[in-house]
Symmetry: C2
Subunit: 459 residues, 2 copies
Amino acid sequence: MKYCFLYCLLFICIASANAQQNDESVIKKIYSESLAKGKTYEWLHYLCKNIGPRLSGSPEAAAAVEFARQVMDTLQLDRVYLQEVMVPHWVRGPKEFATILNSKKIGSRQVNVCALGNSVGTGPAGIIGKVVEVKTFEELEQLGKNKISGKIVFFNRPLDATFFDTFDAYIGAVNQRGTGASQAARFGAIGVVVRSMTTLIDNVPHTGSLRYAPNVPQLPAVALSTADAELLSSLLKDDPDIQFYVQTQCKMLPDVLSYNVIGEIKGSSMPEEVVVVGGHLDSWDLGEGAHDDGAGCVQSMEVLRLFKTLGIRPKRTVRAVLFMNEENGLRGGTKYAEIAAKEPVKHIAAIESDRGGFTPREFFLEEASSGQIQKLSSWKNLFKPYGISDIRAGESGSDILPLKPMGTLLIGYVPDPQRYFDLHHTAEDTFEKVNKREIELGAAAMATLVYLLSEYGVK
Amino acid sequence: MKYCFLYCLLFICIASANAQQNDESVIKKIYSESLAKGKTYEWLHYLCKNIGPRLSGSPEAAAAVEFARQVMDTLQLDRVYLQEVMVPHWVRGPKEFATILNSKKIGSRQVNVCALGNSVGTGPAGIIGKVVEVKTFEELEQLGKNKISGKIVFFNRPLDATFFDTFDAYIGAVNQRGTGASQAARFGAIGVVVRSMTTLIDNVPHTGSLRYAPNVPQLPAVALSTADAELLSSLLKDDPDIQFYVQTQCKMLPDVLSYNVIGEIKGSSMPEEVVVVGGHLDSWDLGEGAHDDGAGCVQSMEVLRLFKTLGIRPKRTVRAVLFMNEENGLRGGTKYAEIAAKEPVKHIAAIESDRGGFTPREFFLEEASSGQIQKLSSWKNLFKPYGISDIRAGESGSDILPLKPMGTLLIGYVPDPQRYFDLHHTAEDTFEKVNKREIELGAAAMATLVYLLSEYGVK
């Protein structure tokens, strides 16, 4: 009996060591294939240069759906399908125009703006008004209707560059863009100008979505480049009567039929458990949506290609989901979760790549149990040779968040965050800003985690 | 007695916790200052755009010396001085020209080359010859004089893109550039063409130094872009009689007087122990030497500025050393060590930043004792909030290597390695390729390690 126990223990030890060795070997193959023969860069080139920006509801978004479907069709997956979803159809219209007027110091000066996504337009006549600069909603409250009514509110709280993680800086400022328009409307403002969401000081305006609150007027809102925001702020100090003119012709059209694009490799022994890996196929209309989030899409497709090319048959089902409409509606993510809830499968984990195609650094686990954190952390050593230094609690991704009520473990793929907000939601987010090795390493990191999840689950 | 012991223990515990807290607070200040008000980016802009490339012996190298001296003079250091050093003076001359001749498939085709540093030129007439492609020196040996004499040897072993660390890929290929010319000369070759040292396939040739062995003819040698190397190799397969023409007019001139630039903050309690932080001021003549190694220079000066601005008085002496002539002679590093050996101080540690101005990842300790590795590793937690994930054994930097015999702990600052060899030693190594936050984080990481070394030493 005693010997039996010892033999069992020995067997378990050897089996576990073999598994570890096998995992290391699979992971090495994944990285080598992605770095030497990866497809992410080539696919991203097509998405950025042949299709271009892919705002929800646009013809280019439809082209992106078809492109992704065709790519997945070449991968010999078990299933490739589209999932219908109605999406908002916001259009920017002709290039926006804005100018500082009647400054004592510099007279009139054209400035760099772009409409915020989902914003109403000013119409061709534009709006003109004095400017009230604030940094917080509390300031707005203190100024009150008296000081704000009939004016343009200028939200000018900068991102705090001293955060190591630029996403923390972003989170500290982005409520100005998201809800500033409705906050200002409560006090009778006629329009809103928001400092662009970047730590850089430059001439590039950053778009991004706003959400109008119910029961207050919908004000036209634009993002102003940080250099122009600094200028406007400095002029206002001596000259509070400066006027600002802005013209935007953006508008919201009726919803349009669009699609999530899904590819699947069926699990060999536990097909009813699903691991999702995804990004979002829509992008803003400026730039090419290269980092945001062309990168996440081609990486997710590459995960499937790596499995197929290397002959890795996952134990659990693996799905790449390219979500539609993350940027200004989250309809794709919402729809996917709605349908997933009715499927006879269990979504055990979902990974989203929506922080750019930069060098991999970490994975974040959103509201995971301590057991899950412990389990996934135990894989850290497998990632160490490839520059992933941590797997820890943190935010995941917008598109997979609707899966939370189903008990899915939500995972954010976290690349190096330093460059993202230089180009986020701007005309600068182009293919040229993506480094081949960095995006390939990201795909390999994601494939590795999908592999481990499909082998070992989350419990 | 027993109580006395317990009190002592308690006191030590409290003191140690206080020290840790104080260190965290100092480090936070260092990072905040560098990210919010850092000077690295501004200084690098001057170095790249006003001065430009700074090959040893060039007027621009002299300008860089003067610029660095003037910057350091503004920092209110205890001492700023120049250290004389004679440097080689190699000049590229007019733009090189090379062409594939008489290919059956494509006729003649101009290709992208640049002379390797220290190479002799072909002279205005150029050289012409058949091409023998090899991947290793063993192949060369096997082919022997018979097959090589009178021909041009084409070294075409690519960097292995499957390494995570591109420096490992570089090390696996760079002997072709460093000693290929003399190896080929042993078998009667008339010239050498070396595939560029990058994992990318593009049209950009990468220069870099070669070293001629004594007692063999000095052959002219050029780097060929990887895209052209692929082309030439594929043509040679069907058509081994292709000829190659190359014209270079580079040459070595007599040595020139130049300088290391040194700034010093004297240690408050142990001034006789010195911590060096440095980079190299010279660069290749193509591009602007932005990542290689303008970044390391401005970061090293920034370390001193951070100490002064934040009122950090180091216990040990801190020196920023901007070395001259790393690229094609290492004369500055050699001279610094020669003089250091005679100084009445002990160089306890030296950090070099010469891997580009990318996001900080690690520090490498070269041939450190296990005690030193243990000591410095114990600081890892202080770096963790700032993305430095490891302090471990690895290579340091060329300029500080000559300090090794003095028992100095040699430390390499290791940023993310993915993009470096896209632009290393090329016309692409320009200011625009440097990200403001990334280079600032590097300066802060270096300042933090210098601070800890100056507080706690290496023992």
